[in-house]
């Protein structure tokens, strides 16, 4: 556990000061811990793409970056309510660290790559190029495998017993971002706490070892920051979402369309860091000719074929349970109640999520695999990408509506 704890400490040490430099005011450290962890984890992993995989070299580099960034004097303000959110993650932490990640996709993809890279102390392009099993997905971005490798480097050995803590860190970071954003939106400590606690099941994903949790953290935090006008940091987190899962690439386009549809056309250009951050990986995977299954030859023919015969897709979508029926009923009621304010005030998030959702359906149309198989093994996780941000805006607008009703009882 020492290596894992050191990793989170290093991530926070380097991520927090950089977050404060990159974020929009107010630049206070305590409310920015969530963004700091998210950014810090990415900086730690980025060092592995550049530096030799040596414990002392990467630690020295991280501390140097942190020292350079720690120039300003901060006045921390205590936020004890955020500690309650972290305390409520204790059960999730026990679950996540019960054993090495047992998920199939961890053993054949995320964890497999990380372990294979650690064997040679570097990104093994030969391994990625020759991968026989299709589940290895050599084209997937490497932020999560390199995160596991960073911990292994700190330990100077591979041990997956407590890797689940990475997922706890991502969940905690996202919930802190949600809490701070909710405080910013509602100016109520109790409401902010309620919203953050309500979103714990969405941030604390059950897929330990997979990239869903990290992706949800980066993507949701990015959308919420862009929504409130924190463009630079939001765009960086959006780029990191694209460095975690390929779905993040379409999310960049979705966010740009969302901004465009809300009349924030100038802000579209300010998303440039989101494009810049995943670019080196995209170039590298192109140079190494790593195959992408969705884009494999005959995409147009597959899309046309599936679009002309959509019955198997609909059958597959309707057969996969998304669970939580009470949640979906409550969400539908919430959307119905707050529909007017959602459309006027939350157009950015709604459009971005809708475009992303359309891209997911598009991926199913383009799939080279059996549609039923593809949907069965991904649909629940893909929907989980979208629900935290959607639930957040519905809750915030319901609160806003309640506040309006209390202030102006005759209007309601």
């Amino acid at each position: 556990m020492i290596a894992e704890a050191c990793f989170i400490a290093l991530a926070l040490a380097v991520g927090l000061p950089l977050t404060l430099r990159l974020s929009a005011p107010p630049r206070e450290p305590v409310p920015r811990v969530g963004e700091g962890v998210l950014l810090g984890i990415a900086i730690c992993t980025a060092t592995l793409a550049i530096l030799p995989w040596s414990r002392w070299i990467v630690i020295a580099t991280i501390l140097l970056i942190a020292a350079i960034a720690w120039k300003r004097v901060f006045t921390p303000r205590p936020r004890y309510d955020a500690l309650l959110i972290l305390a409520l993650l204790l059960g999730y932490a026990l679950y996540a660290m019960l054993a090495p990640p047992p998920e199939y996709d961890y053993l054949t993809n995320w964890g497999f790559k990380a372990k294979a890279f650690f064997e040679i102390r570097g990104i093994d392009w030969q391994f990625l190029g020759r991968s026989i099993d299709r589940n290895v997905h050599p084209d997937y971005p490497l932020l999560l495998p390199l995160t596991y490798d960073f911990i292994a480097i700190l330990r100077n050995g591979w041990n997956d017993a407590h890797l689940g803590i990475v997922h706890v860190a991502f969940a905690a970071a996202l919930l802190l971002v949600i809490h701070e954003t909710a405080w910013d939106d509602t100016r109520s400590r109790i409401v902010a706490l309620f919203i953050a606690i309500a979103l714990i099941p969405f941030a604390a994903t059950p897929w330990i070892g997979l990239a869903e949790g990290p992706f949800i953290a980066y993507a949701t935090a990015a959308l919420l920051l862009i929504r409130r006008g924190d463009l630079t940091l939001g765009a960086i987190l959006l780029g990191l979402a694209a460095s975690t899962k390929n779905e993040g690439l379409t999310l960049i386009a979705a966010a740009a369309i969302g901004l465009f549809c809300t009349g924030r056309k100038r802000d579209v250009v300010r998303l440039w860091p989101a494009v810049l951050i995943p670019l080196p990986w995209l170039i590298a995977r192109s140079l190494h000719q790593l195959p992408t299954d969705i884009a494999a030859g005959g995409v147009v023919a597959r899309v046309v074929e599936h679009a002309l015969h959509p019955a198997p897709l609909f059958a597959a979508l309707s057969s996969v349970s998304l669970g939580k029926p009470l949640y979906w009923i409550a969400l539908a009621i919430g959307i119905a109640i707050a529909s007017r304010t959602l459309v006027t005030r939350e157009r950015f998030i709604l459009v971005a999520l809708f475009v992303q959702f359309a891209c997911y359906l598009g991926a199913y149309l383009a799939t080279p695999f059996d549609v039923a198989w593809h949907v069965t093994w991904s649909w629940e996780r893909l929907v989980a990408h979208l629900t935290p941000a959607l639930t957040y805006v519905v809750l915030v607008q319901l609160v806003a509506r309640m506040s309006t009703a209390q202030t102006h009882p005759t209007r309601s």
């Binding site: 019960l98 054993a99 090495p100 047992p102 998920e103 199939y104 053993l107 054949t108 964890g111 497999f112 372990k115 294979a116 650690f118 064997e119 040679i120 020759r130 026989i132 099993d133 589940n135 290895v136």
Partner: protein
């Protein structure tokens, strides 16, 4: 108890397969090319389960299937392998000798 069950979870349909692969890892070195032999004639009826779960414990080695996903034998992979990890079967392959035998399988190494 719960942790031990979680560790065994991904391998539970083929008892002993995790222990076999850990033993194979201990007896091989990085760079070895390991072919996976199993008593399953079809990819989707046990072979894929074993093969895909052998990848993680055997990182650093090149792990090759002896069957493709259309259930065709992969003689080319056998020709490339210098080690055979056999789960609950005892293949007789010319040019290979048994170097270790356990409860759930054995390891064969190319001798010529």
């Amino acid at each position: 108890m719960l942790a031990a069950r979680e560790v065994a979870l991904p391998y539970q349909k083929l008892p002993g397969s995790r222990e076999l692969m850990l033993q194979v890892r201990a007896l091989t070195k990085p760079g070895d090319v390991i072919a996976i032999a199993a008593p399953f004639p079809k990819w989707d009826q046990g072979y894929a389960y074993l093969y895909t779960r052998a990848l993680y414990p055997l990182t650093g080695r090149e792990v090759l299937p002896l069957l493709d996903d259309h259930d065709r034998p992969r003689a080319d992979n056998l020709a490339r392998a210098n080690v055979i990890a056999a789960y609950r079967c005892e293949p007789r392959v010319p040019g290979f000798a048994i170097v270790w035998h356990g409860r759930d399988g054995m390891l064969m190494r190319r001798i010529r």
